[in-house]
């Protein structure tokens, strides 16, 4: 059973269909990159998978009893966040909120998990720093830590994080930081068997790191393995070959 299965899925804004005819699935351990031009419905699709946007038609099935709090999400940053007075630690810790349910305060385990994730992503030193004083790359890492923190990855508790959805995580980052981020994503993908769905304009890296590619152009131009995509006509055109 797949984490996400989409059948004949379509999305619309105020009656105008932005994307239609989506048929694909994301399995456990898959690394899916969603590519396509601006306005081709990539962010809308991610919002749909998260349950933030209702489909116009078709259906999204969540498999393997996947719960909302088992999905990590790395959204595009909003303007309000850029000057938000919060420490990196506070932001990371807020990732644990989804699994707290109605219990109002964080437990020692939550705090330990936040610290552990920050250690793993090499941002422990930033814990006390103000989010708005961090560089773009550091902010992105803090948000990744928050997403991963949603449930301790591979903690053996049986209720770890199982899917990670990212909306253009490398936009605006320099090549070195971008490379680091891809490495970290590959690592969590392999180590924890996390299903990753990532929107990216960086098609070359997508082909390099992802296992599957979904290309949108108002419909589903391509869905399949990254190797097949590179060999396909759509892929060749988008890769500029």
């Amino acid at each position: 059973m797949a984490l996400f299965t989409c059948r004949d899925l379509s999305f619309a804004y105020e009656g105008n269909t932005v994307v239609a005819g989506l048929n694909f699935s994301v399995q456990r351990g898959d690394y899916l990159c969603v590519v396509g031009e601006n306005g081709s419905g990539k962010s809308t699709l991610i919002k749909g998978l998260l349950g933030l946007k209702q489909p116009q038609g078709g259906e999204i099935t969540r498999g393997e009893n996947l719960k909302s709090h088992e999905i990590g999400y790395l959204p595009q940053q909003t303007a309000a966040q850029k000057d938000f007075p919060a420490s990196a630690y506070e932001v990371v810790l807020s990732g644990r909120l989804g699994m707290r349910g109605l219990r109002p305060f964080y437990s020692g385990a939550d705090k330990a998990a936040a610290a552990e994730i920050m250690e793993r992503l090499d941002i422990s030193l930033l814990a006390g720093c103000c989010y708005r004083d961090l560089s773009g790359g550091q902010q992105q890492r803090v948000l990744l830590a928050r997403a991963l923190c949603a449930a301790a990855v591979g903690s053996g508790s049986g209720h770890g994080l199982r899917a990670l959805l990212l909306d253009e995580p490398v936009t605006g980052l320099d090549p070195i930081v971008t490379y680091d981020l891809y490495q970290q994503l590959s690592r969590v993908n392999e180590e924890a068997g996390l299903g990753i769905v990532m929107i990216s304009h960086d098609v070359r890296s997508a082909v390099l790191y992802a296992s599957h590619i979904l290309h949108l152009d108002g419909g589903q131009a391509f869905f399949g393995s990254a190797a097949d995509y590179a060999a396909s006509e759509t892929g060749a055109r988008f890769l500029g070959r």
């Binding site: 349950g51 909302s68 959204p75 309000a80 007075p85 919060a86 909120l97």
Partner: protein, 278 residues
């Protein structure tokens, strides 16, 4: 310069001042806590809009000879939900919607006043506040509601942070952000109505906005911003009341002036720190 201890003893010997201080300190505490979230969510004007609605309802309540708080609270709470919904969904953008609603409520209030009592001191007090406004019943209700606001804020502090920082993320991971937005709007509405008659409908939103902005000049963490805003707000309110007592100035305006001074002071401290990092 009179001895501060004597002044305080003297002030506390007036029951109306004790009532005003009790309610005022609680309200400024609540307003500061909620203000941090409102300012960061870019909802600062909601406080202002709600106070105008509050003015309208006070005018109508007086005309109907009804208890002011009993009429104001439900109407302002409704207005808060309406403003929130409009700023989230509608094509009319949030700030324009707030301006529409607040001027409409003001117009209704002014019309009702001129048709009934006419422009008198009562009306002036609604606009700019009066330290004498608090009756014993009001105090009891205000204290009870303030305690509720404080408890809810503490209980939902982590959720409020998450919803303030990143609403989409919170929603995606299973936090009912709509619910918490409503909670914030609801608590703000109650706080505004409670503080409005003392601070004045025109001035009450300063209690929401100033402490948060002041704290943000120097604090870098959400928790410290929240705590600092609370402390600043309470101290400024107290200082404002003392000054208004000593200089016979209007209470609401005095509190706002003290808040401005605190803001400038913190802004200067923040600016100095960035120029010359410690």
């Amino acid at each position: 310069m009179p001895n501060i201890q004597n002044v305080l003893t003297e002030m506390l010997s007036y029951p109306f001042l004790v009532r005003a201080l009790t309610v005022g300190l609680l309200v400024s505490l609540c307003a500061a806590l909620l203000g941090v979230s409102l300012v960061l969510k870019r909802y600062s004007m909601i406080g202002d809009g709600l106070s105008h609605v509050g003015f309208g309802t006070l005018a109508v309540a007086t005309a109907l000879n009804a208890a002011p708080l009993a009429v104001s609270i439900p109407v302002v709470v409704l207005a808060a939900f309406l403003l929130l919904r409009i700023s989230e969904n509608s094509r009319i953008k949030g700030d324009a919607a707030i301006a529409l609603i607040s001027t409409s409520a003001l117009a209704v209030g002014v019309l009702v006043i001129s048709l009934t009592t006419g422009m008198n001191t009562d009306v002036c007090n609604y606009m700019f506040g009066s330290i004498l406004a608090m009756s014993k019943g009001d105090v009891r209700l205000s204290v009870a509601l303030s305690v509720v606001v404080l408890l809810l804020f503490i209980l939902f502090y982590n959720k409020i942070f998450a919803v303030t920082f990143d609403e989409n993320y919170a929603r995606a991971t299973g936090t009912k952000s709509g619910l918490y937005n409503m909670l914030i709007a609801f608590l703000t509405a109650i706080t505004i109505v409670l503080g409005m008659r003392m601070m004045g409908a025109m001035l009450i939103s300063s209690l929401v906005i100033f402490p948060a902005l002041t704290a943000m000049r120097v604090c870098k963490r959400f928790k410290s911003v929240t705590l600092c805003a609370a402390v600043v707000s309470v101290l400024c309110f107290f200082a404002g009341v003392v000054i208004s007592y000593l200089c016979a100035t209007p209470t609401g305006a005095s509190v706002v002036i003290v808040n401005i001074a605190a803001f400038l002071l913190f802004w200067l401290a923040g600016a100095l720190r960035t120029v010359r990092p410690a």
